[in-house]
């Protein structure tokens, strides 16, 4: 896979999912910066021509556009059994967590955006409760996995399920949610950070 182009927003955790996986795979992509804040460029005609739903990130592979974090992760993981298991059950479990990342976990993504750009951080809103509930689902899952001796979301090693979940979990302090309430997530965050090729983004300190 040569000639990768990533349409990227430095502050966007969905784009970070793609940057993180590219880095784990040791792949380079040419960055095209999309000015979401303050520019609102994701809604421009030019960007909609690339990503009809205005979704970031977009990865161009040999000129073909793949839109959205989960799709980008799948495209990059295709044919790499260590990141995308081939057995039916584990494959489907990874699919479930990708769907979760694009579904219930969006509440946490929206909480972070509101708290960065709309001054609506800490109040006890329905959105906040939904965001906390989503983090708890991952926490409970990893607490159970640990009792089986497992460290990762699915199977014996890291998969794209871990990469789909990691940014939103690791960035929850951006909307005032403490890591200390989630011991299983803390342990897993450290494990992801220890993988070769790990890169940070603002909100996830280099140290620590």
């Amino acid at each position: 896979m040569s000639a990768l182009v990533l349409y990227d927003d430095e502050l966007d955790e969905d784009c970070y999912r793609a940057r993180l996986f590219l880095s784990f795979l040791g792949l380079q992509a040419r960055r095209v910066v999309v000015d979401v804040v303050p520019g609102g460029e994701q809604d421009s005609a030019a960007f909609r021509a690339v990503s009809p739903a205005g979704v970031l990130p977009v990865l161009r592979i040999e000129g073909q556009a793949v839109c959205g974090a989960e799709a980008v992760l799948l495209a990059l993981a295709h044919g790499r059994a260590e990141w995308l298991p081939e057995g039916a059950v584990d494959f489907a479990r990874v699919a479930h967590w990708l769907q979760f990342a694009g579904g219930p976990l969006r509440a946490a993504v929206l909480m972070r955006r509101a708290s960065l750009f709309a001054g609506a951080g800490d109040e006890q809103s329905a959105r906040r409760r939904a965001a906390v509930a989503a983090l708890r689902i991952v926490e409970d899952h990893l607490a159970h996995r640990r009792l089986d001796g497992g460290l990762w979301v699915v199977g014996e090693g890291p998969t794209v399920a871990d990469i789909a979940l990691f940014p939103t979990v690791a960035l929850c302090r951006d909307w005032g949610e403490e890591h200390s309430a989630y011991p299983a997530l803390r342990r897993w965050v450290r494990a992801v950070r220890a993988l070769p090729g790990f890169v940070t983004m603002p909100g996830i300190p280099d140290y620590g």
Partner: protein
């Protein structure tokens, strides 16, 4: 619950405050908050901007400067601060977007004036171990203009600006123009004489909350606007995780509350200056009732 400024907090009330970027103002009314007071901003068909404040009968003063909309709840000077470099024809104005921070705006300004955190918070960009030393610099309180300045500041930076190629020893000059308005002048990779100018206009919304409006005045003919904006946003978000985790969230003005070293002499001067001006909003020891 909102907290308004104490009526004796003149240095804060009579200042100009940036309350948003002009380029993001549409024709629909927008809402924001300044010093615990809800504001409604309206741009009419003639592009005239009116700002109304909850509980104020008359519209607030308005200024449009440096890409920002400015206002005041008190009696401000004729114009917002002067930044002569902003008018140089080859400077690029880069408005970097507004970011909310759950911390006192005074903490945000103080962090902007700090070099010692570069290696740990902006790792491999504005600093890197083992080059962590902060050399002695000069700090002064300029009585004639009532501003704080720090000069002769130097720090080794792996990537001082987006346009920097490799590491450089960067020279800095810091300036605090009013309690919530600060800027710095740093070595420009593209011009041996003139520095880049980076400003941080902080809008205190509550004592423990603010909205930061970073603006840059750069000499850079090559980078795209989006690249420049994101470089600065990345830096600011790296600071935000620090700022939201300082306790207390208010800035202590009692000299015994926190322990500075020589590297913090600018911060010490800033806190002393705030104390002399009897700044209350965003500082410890004074939370006026709602």
């Amino acid at each position: 619950m909102t907290h308004r400024a104490d009526q004796n907090d003149c240095a804060v009330l009579d200042s100009w405050h940036a309350v948003g970027f002009l380029e993001t103002l549409g024709t629909a009314p927008t809402h924001t908050r300044l010093l615990g007071v809800d504001l409604t901003i309206q741009r009419n068909v003639d592009a005239q901007i009116t700002i109304r404040a909850q509980g104020h009968d008359t519209p607030l003063p308005v200024a449009e400067r440096y890409g920002c909309l400015w206002t005041s709840l008190g009696t401000p000077p004729a114009t917002p601060l002067a930044i002569p470099e902003a008018d140089e024809p080859d400077r690029r104005l880069v408005c970097c977007g507004s970011i909310d921070v759950h911390a006192s705006g005074l903490r945000v300004v103080e962090n902007f004036l700090d070099m010692a955190h570069f290696p740990f918070v902006h790792t491999n960009i504005l600093g890197a171990e083992p080059q962590t030393e902060v050399l002695r610099y000069h700090t002064e309180s300029r009585r004639d203009v009532d501003e704080i300045w720090a000069t002769d500041c130097r720090f080794h930076q792996p990537q001082a600006a987006l346009s920097a190629v490799g590491g450089q020893d960067t020279g800095y000059i810091y300036r605090v123009a009013s309690p919530f308005v600060t800027l710095l002048y740093k070595t420009c990779p593209n011009d041996t004489l003139r520095p880049d100018v980076i400003a941080l206009f902080v809008q205190p919304t509550e004592p423990e909350r603010c909205r930061a409006h970073p603006v840059m005045f750069l000499i850079d003919d090559f980078s795209t606007q989006a690249d420049l904006i994101q470089f600065q946003q990345k830096i600011f978000l790296q600071d935000r995780i620090i700022l939201e985790n300082q306790r207390p969230r208010l800035l202590p003005l009692d000299a015994r509350a926190e322990i500075p070293t020589r590297a913090d002499s600018l911060s010490v001067t800033y806190r002393r200056w705030l104390k002399q001006k009897q700044v209350r909003y965003g500082a410890t020891g004074a939370l006026p009732a709602a």
